[in-house]
C-alpha cells in the first residue's frame, strides 16, 4: 500500500510540474502583451517590463515562477485590478466557488441516492423509467442549459430567486446555481447506484439475509446500500471535472463572483498572472481529488491496487 501511495504521489508531483511548464509556455506564446496601450512609448514599456521582470530569459522566469508559486505568491494582476496581489483576489472567490460546489455535490448526492434506490427497488416499473430518463438527461444536457432554464422560469417568470448573485443574500442567490450544477451529480450517482444495487440484490448474501427474516429497511440500508456505495466513489473523478467546467458557465450566467468567472474575465483581458493562477488552482484541486479517490479506492478494494502494481 505504501509503495502504491508513493508512486501516485510522485506522478501527481510530475503532473503539477508539467502543468506549470505548460501554463508558462502557453502564456509566453499568447498574442499581445498587457501593455497594448498605444500611448506608452518604447522606453516606458521597457521600464514596466523590467519592473515586472518580463525582460529576463524564459528559463529564469520559469524557475522564479515555480519558486513563487510554491510560496503561494501568484504575483500581481496586470490589468484587472492593477497591482492587486492575486492571492488576495482569489481568496474570497475560491470560497464562493467551493461553497457552491459543495452544496451542489451534497444536494446532488442526496437526490441521486434516493433516485438510485427507488429505481433499483422498483426495477422495471414506471418509476425506474422516470429515474432513467432523469439520469440520461442529466448526463447529456450541459449544466448551463439547466441554469438558463432555471433563471428564466424561477428567476424571471416566477421571481422566486434573484437572477443575479447578490452577496448580501448569498443563501437565496445560490439556490439556482446549486440546482443547475447538481444535475450531473444526480444523474451519475443515481445511474451508478442503480446498477450496483441491482447487482448486490442478486447476490447470495442478500438471499441469506432475507431468509433470516430481517426487515426490509434493514436489508436495504445495512446489506444493500453499504455494499453498493463502495464503487460509487469512482464517479467522484468525472464529477469534479463537471463541477469545474460547470462552474465556469454557471458563474457567468448568474454573475457569481467566483473562481470561474474570474478565470473567464482574465482570459478575455489577457491578464497573464490571473489566468495562470486560476488555472493552477483548478489543476491542483483536480489532481488532489484524483489522488484521494485513487488512494481511497486502493484501500477499499485491494484488487485495484494490486492490478495497478502488477503493471
Amino acid at each position: 500500500m505504501g509503495k502504491y501511495i508513493i508512486k501516485r504521489l510522485i506522478i501527481s508531483i510530475f503532473t503539477i510540474l508539467a502543468i506549470l511548464l505548460l501554463l508558462f509556455l502557453l502564456l509566453e506564446l499568447l498574442p499581445g502583451t498587457p501593455f497594448n496601450d498605444e500611448k506608452l512609448t518604447e522606453e516606458q514599456k521597457a521600464v514596466v517590463m523590467e519592473k515586472y521582470g518580463l525582460d529576463k530569459p524564459v528559463l529564469v522566469r520559469f524557475a522564479n515562477y515555480i519558486h513563487l508559486m510554491l510560496k503561494g505568491d501568484f504575483g500581481v494582476s496586470y490589468t484587472m485590478q492593477k497591482n492587486m496581489p492575486i492571492s488576495k483576489m482569489l481568496k474570497p472567490r475560491i470560497q464562493v466557488s467551493i461553497s457552491i460546489g459543495l452544496q451542489a455535490v451534497l444536494l446532488g448526492t442526496i437526490i441521486g441516492l434516493v433516485l438510485g434506490i427507488i429505481a433499483s427497488l422498483k426495477h422495471n416499473t414506471w418509476l425506474d423509467s422516470v429515474a432513467s430518463i432523469i439520469s440520461v438527461c442529466g448526463v447529456s444536457i450541459p449544466s448551463y442549459v439547466f441554469a438558463l432554464a432555471l433563471a428564466y422560469l424561477l428567476g424571471y417568470k416566477l421571481k422566486l430567486f434573484p437572477i443575479l448573485f447578490n452577496p448580501s443574500n448569498a443563501a437565496k442567490s445560490s439556490v439556482m446555481p446549486t440546482i443547475a450544477l447538481s444535475m450531473f451529480t444526480v444523474a451519475t450517482v443515481s445511474r451508478f447506484l442503480r446498477s450496483e444495487m441491482l447487482e448486490v440484490f442478486g447476490s447470495d448474501y442478500i438471499l441469506l439475509a432475507k431468509s433470516k427474516g430481517i426487515s426490509d429497511s434493514r436489508l436495504i440500508v445495512r446489506h444493500g446500500l453499504r455494499n453498493a456505495m463502495i464503487p460509487v466513489i469512482t464517479v467522484l473523478g468525472p464529477l469534479v471535472v463537471s463541477l469545474m467546467t460547470g462552474s465556469l458557465v454557471v458563474e457567468k450566467i448568474f454573475a457569481i463572483p467566483g473562481l470561474g468567472s474570474l478565470f473567464v474575465t482574465a482570459i478575455q483581458v489577457n491578464d497573464y498572472n490571473v489566468v495562470i493562477a486560476a488555472a493552477f488552482i483548478y489543476s491542483v484541486m483536480f489532481i488532489a481529488v484524483m489522488l484521494v479517490v485513487d488512494i481511497l479506492y486502493g484501500i477499499i478494494d485491494p484488487r485495484i491496487r494490486l492490478a495497478k502494481e502488477e503493471k
Binding site: L248, V275, Y282
Partner: protein
Amino acid sequence: MSLIFKEDDFAFANKRKGTNDTYDISKESFAKDVFTRFMKNKGAVISLVCIAIIIFMAIFAPYVNEHTYKSMIIEHASLPPKIPILEKLGICDGIIEGVDVYEKAGADGSYYLFGTDTLGRDLWTRTWVGTRVSLYIAGLAMLIDMIIGMSFGLISGFFGGKVDLVMQRFIEILSGIPNMIIVTLLVLVLKPGILSITVALLIKGWIGMSRVVRAQVLKLKEQEFILASETLGTSSANIILNEILPNILGQVIIMSMFSIPDAIFTESFLAFIGLGLQAPMASLGVLINDGFKSFLVFPYMVAIPTTVLAILMLSFNIMADGLRDAFDPKMKEM
C-alpha cells in the same frame, strides 16, 4: 440388498421427440445479431432517427430561404418566430403583446421560422449552419478516437514492457491536467476558431479510448489464438491488424460514440465563455452565447439552439447506450 437396473430404466431428461442430441446453434452472423438487438431498442432507434433528421436539416435546411448565415436586414432585428401553419392557432404568429412586430418592422409577408437575432440575421439558417459545426466536431472526435486512441492503446498494450511503461506514465501525467485548462489555454494561444478547437480535441480526446483498447489487448494477448499466430511466425503488425483488431472493434465503436457528446459539449462550452468561432460564423454554442445576452427579453434566441444541442447530445448518448447493449447484452445493467 442389491439393485438391478435394466437398460430402459434410464432415459434422457428433457429429451423431446424429433430433436437430435446436437444443439441448435444459430447461424446468424454477429453483425446481423447486433443489428437485430439494436433495432429492438426503441430509445436507440428514435435517437438514430433524430440524428438522421438533424444531419439532413444541417445539410439542406440553410438553402430553403434566401438568407445566408451572415446576411442581415437590420430593420428585421429581434423578430420572434413566425411559422405559416401554426400562426393560425395563435402561437408563433409574430405578435408580441398585441403588437404585430412583423408589420412594425416592415417585414410583412416574410416568415422567419426561428425568428431573427438582434442584428437581423435569420436564426433558421444560422441554427442549421451552426449545427454543421457540431456535426463536424462529432465526426472529428470519432476520427481522433479511432486513429490516435486506438493505435496508442494497441501499441502500448501489445508491446508491453518499457514501451508500455513510458506510454502509460505519459498518459497518467496528461490525464492529470484538467481538460478545461488545456482547451482554454490552447484556444487562447491559437486564435479562437475551428482550427484551435480541432487541435484542442486532438490533445486529450483520445485518452479514454486508448485505455480501453489497451485493457482489451492485454486480455486478448494471453489467449491461445494469439500464441498460435506468434508460433507460426506472424509479424506483430499482422497479429495486431488481423487477430486483435477485429476482436476489439465493437468496444472501439462504442467508445467513439460516447466521446461524441463530450466533444460537442467542449465546443459549445468554449463558445459560451467567448472562445468559440468568431463572428459572423455560427455554431450552436455561439448562438447560445449570443442569445444569452438578451435571453430574458427574447428567450427564443437561446431556446432554439439549446434545444437542438440538447437533442443532439441526448441522441448520441442514448444511441451509444443502445449500441453497447447490442454489442454486449451482458453489460446491459451497467
